[in-house]
């Protein structure tokens, strides 16, 4: 039997993995989103509304919210396509802050006072979503579609020249990422049982990006490693008391300096694969 405390960390990691995957999918087409907490927030409020006020079962509510967030992701993705690189990242940052601010004003959903009334879900339930989506993305990575994602990532112009619809691919990735972030939000709301707009600010968005990059932004399981580290590292550093966060920051910088491609990358896997074959 694991303690409540460890169960909490376990659930937290599962949710953060989904957040990291939502960034990962978008990043795989060469776009950086600094606003995924916005989609997460929409997912959180939408799912909670559906379970609390419409009485929907949680799984159905999550699916509906995921579709809603993905649709919104498409809508946001289209105008954002005019922008590239860091400018797109800044626009998504603005989107995230606008969503947070919007929920502050939505008195119907509690406004600044937050929203509650959700029923608790288990860590196992959270992780079945996490693993399900992780496996789905890993299967997607074996498909032709993913090759198109990577082609757009590597060189958009060239991808267009060989007949790929770069626009559709980029908007599609945006929608997919938004949907995953929405699920992360719904699970977050039903794990903590209380949500407020401040839960879905810039710091949350950047945490997703950090988890994706730290774990390794070229392979989906990197999200698992990155999310695990981001949740557990501050726990392991508890003995440093007041200086815990400074040590955490220093370790982040150090890890990026030592392994800028993230802890896992494609060669880690091919090496493991080779060894297995040799044995």
């Amino acid at each position: 039997m694991i303690s409540t405390y460890n169960a909490g960390l376990f659930a937290e990691i599962g949710i953060l993995i989904l957040g990291a995957l939502s960034v990962y999918v978008i990043l795989s087409t060469g776009q950086l989103s600094l606003g995924n907490a916005g989609f997460m927030g929409i997912g959180a409020y939408q799912t909670s509304f559906l379970t609390v006020e419409a009485g929907l079962p949680i799984t159905l509510a999550l699916l509906v919210s995921a579709i809603g967030c993905a649709a919104l992701g498409f809508l946001v993705g289209f105008p954002a396509l005019r922008l590239r690189g860091i400018y797109l990242a800044i626009a998504t940052l603005g989107f995230g802050e606008m969503v947070r601010s919007l929920f502050l004003n939505l008195d119907r959903l509690g406004g600044a006072g937050g929203y509650h009334g959700m029923k608790s879900i288990s860590g196992v339930y959270i992780w079945s979503w996490t693993l399900g989506i992780l496996v789905a993305i890993m299967l997607l990575e074996r498909s032709r579609l993913w090759l198109e994602f990577r082609a757009v990532h590597d060189d958009e112009t060239a991808a267009g020249l060989v007949g790929l619809n770069a626009t559709a691919i980029k908007v599609g990735a945006f929608g997919l990422g938004a949907g995953i972030a929405g699920i992360a939000g719904g699970l977050f709301a039903h794990h903590y049982l209380y949500i407020e707009p401040g839960n879905f600010g810039f710091e949350r968005s950047i945490e997703f990006v950090l988890a994706a990059i730290l774990g390794g932004s070229t392979v989906a399981p990197g999200a698992v490693v990155g999310a695990g580290l981001l949740v557990l590292l501050p726990e392991w550093l508890r003995f440093l008391a007041d200086w815990r966060l400074a040590a955490f920051g220093a370790l982040l910088v150090l890890m990026l300096l030592i392994r800028r491609q993230g802890i896992l990358d494609r060669t880690t896997f091919s090496r493991l694969g080779l060894r297995r074959r040799a044995a």
């Binding site: 990043l27 005019r82 922008l83 400018y87 802050e97 004003n105 007041d242 990026l256």
Partner: protein, 292 residues
């Protein structure tokens, strides 16, 4: 009432202008967001604030705040930026984020997480003209901002260093082949950026007459919006956009409710990104497709 809000918005906007210039010095030249600027601003503010509280005159406090933030900026450049210069843009951005976590921890440990307050007599001097009150502190903030922006413009437009900075911003490889030391100038850009952030920190402390270790993030993100609205490549852009955003924010709080504030500010930013991505005064540039 309206004029009063205008004056308050202008002062707030002046602070945004400085932080926005701090962001755009690094962004315009290197194409990355230095997320630690938000905390450099906070550290500079605390250093200046502590000196003001101990009775040092304003110029000393301002100088010390600038110097402290400038020194940290150089450390960040050497440790977090330079080794990752050829990595994708997101990597140095996250390493500067690591530094902002460190800086915030230093501030909470050193100064505590409760707000520091300026003694009352700082607020006592107020001038009145036509029903509008303006505090001596607000005048200091406005004057200091105008002087600092003027000095920066002079440096960038008229000196050798400024020419080299602009050359690097235009095309790093060509500039280097013409004998400009990119490493040295990157450090200069970070130093200038830190000095401005530090000054803004001291000034915002004087504007609000209080400071906490958490002022950084909120102002930092707003300053990014100001940078985008004004145009990254143009100093005067920030000088125009700072007051626009500052006034929009203060007016929203006064007439629309404080909760709407951020919605309006980032709404303006996204609108500008969509209809005029180079910013109000910026020029279109080719580097936009830079990879993340």
């Amino acid at each position: 009432m309206f004029l009063q809000q205008l004056v308050n918005g202008l002062t707030l906007g002046a602070v945004y202008t400085l932080v926005a210039l701090s962001f755009s010095l690094v962004m315009g030249i290197l194409g990355i967001l230095n997320l630690a600027i938000a905390e450099l601003f906070m550290i500079g503010g605390f250093v200046g604030f502590s000196l003001l509280v101990s009775g040092y005159p304003i110029p000393v406090a301002l100088g010390a705040g600038m110097l402290a933030a400038g020194l940290f900026a150089i450390v960040i450049e050497r440790v977090a930026y330079r080794p990752l210069r050829d990595a994708p843009l997101v990597t140095p951005m996250l390493s500067t984020l690591g530094f902002s976590i460190i800086l915030q921890n230093i501030a909470t440990n050193y100064w505590g997480s409760d707000p520091l307050q300026l003694p009352g007599y700082f607020l006592a001097t107020r001038f009145e003209a036509g029903g509008v009150q303006i505090g001596a502190m607000q005048l200091v903030v406005l004057a200091a901002t105008i002087i600092l922006v003027g000095l920066l413009a002079l440096l960038v437009r008229r000196t050798k260093i400024g020419r080299a900075l602009r050359a690097i911003a235009e095309n790093r490889d060509v500039a280097r082949s013409l004998g400009v030391s990119a490493n040295q100038l990157t450090m200069v850009a970070f130093l200038l950026s830190g000095l401005l952030a530090g000054a803004a920190g001291v000034l915002v402390g004087m504007h609000y007459t209080a400071i906490t270790p958490y002022v950084g993030v909120d102002t930092g993100l707003k300053a990014i919006a100001v940078m985008v609205v004004g145009g990254v490549t143009n100093i005067w852009g920030a000088l125009l956009a700072g007051p626009i955003i500052g006034i929009a924010e203060v007016m929203t709080v006064a007439y629309g409710g404080s909760q709407l504030r951020d919605f309006i500010v980032y709404g303006i930013m996204i609108l500008i990104l969509l209809i005029r991505p180079q910013g109000l005064l910026g020029e279109a540039r080719a580097e936009w497709s830079q990879r993340v």
